[in-house]
Amino acid sequence: MATPSDDHGAPPEAIFDWAFLTGHAEYWMFITLMMAGLFMVVARGNLVKKVVGLNIFQVSVFMLYISIGKITDGTAPIFPLNMDVDPDVIYSNPLPHVLMLTAIVVGIATTSLALALIVRIREAFGTIEEDELLILERAIDTEENRRYSAQSAGDA
């Protein structure tokens, strides 16, 4: 923790830390893309557009994760074919790449299941707009409640 006397002696240019900004600008770019995907999930009513927004969000998370593993002046983590490894070459971190490979495949699995559910919803309700689906489901719920209460009133 900096002592209070340090703040008075610091020059005004040090507040605008250029190295910090350029070092973190990439992360903020990917967060912007994430928020674009999240906006699509929250603000659009069509179920297919929601799935597309979720995909954009997912891909932006991958970008953020891969950028953690990037090393400046590094290269792809693949050795030369004859396996004589030059000790001066810097290789980027291969571990985030492995984790994101798994994540991409899991992402396509969930996307395909979501799309199959959308097809079934369309066949069952006739629409894939969120507003109309809410109205239809509410009507079904009130109908079932009415029928159940009439049944239990008949039993009692």
Partner: protein, 184 residues
């Protein structure tokens, strides 16, 4: 320097494509723009030295995902409805979430730092050990199938489960049963 310029150009294109997807109502165009988004992301991955991930993203995002979404809109509808609600509240929620995430990244190490905790411990260990223990040029495959082989087994099981799930949902068992009932 060229990497930074390329990253900025790709990011600008990605933002433009994302905004176009938000605005459009023709679902066919939305699906094809999402394929373009995946392809641009694959280029970004190549710039960040993740060639295996770029390969997978291009094949999966720009290939399979597009085909499945086109199949879905062929089975549902091709336009989305008019927007009736305002976008102020979602925009506010998204802005608050984004600000919280940016606040979280303030503690992160700089981009490309070789001494970051994520890069300091296991990276050199895997790179050194895989030369002697596995002797395979592609370190990502070596880690994926050997050092982290359990995760890959689980992931293969996840893909298998997704296939089973889609077959249960869309397998047409009801159609076949209805056809059998009609014949008998």
């Amino acid at each position: 320097m060229t990497e930074t310029i390329l990253t900025l150009i790709l990011f600008a294109m990605l933002v433009a494509v994302a905004f176009a997807i938000i605005q459009m109502r023709q679902l066919f165009a939305v699906v094809l723009l999402s394929s373009v988004f995946s392809l641009l992301t694959a280029l970004l991955f190549v710039i960040m030295d993740a060639v295996d991930v770029a390969f997978t993203e291009a094949a999966v995002g720009a290939g399979i995902s597009t085909v499945l979404m086109l199949g879905t809109i062929a089975l549902t509808r091709k336009r989305s409805a008019e927007r009736t609600r305002s976008d102020i509240l979602p925009f506010f929620v998204v802005a608050v979430t984004g600000a919280a995430l940016v606040y979280g990244t303030l503690d992160m190490p700089n981009f490309g730092d070789a001494n970051a905790p994520a890069n300091a411990y296991l990276r050199q260990d895997y790179l050194d050990r895989s030369v002697t223990e596995i002797d395979v040029p592609n370190v990502v495959t070596a880690i994926l199938a050997s050092y982290r082989g359990f995760d890959t087994l689980g992931e293969t099981a996840v893909v298998f489960t997704a296939g089973i799930g889609v077959l249960l949902l869309l397998g047409g068992l009801a159609y076949r049963r209805a056809e059998d009932d009609e014949e008998s």
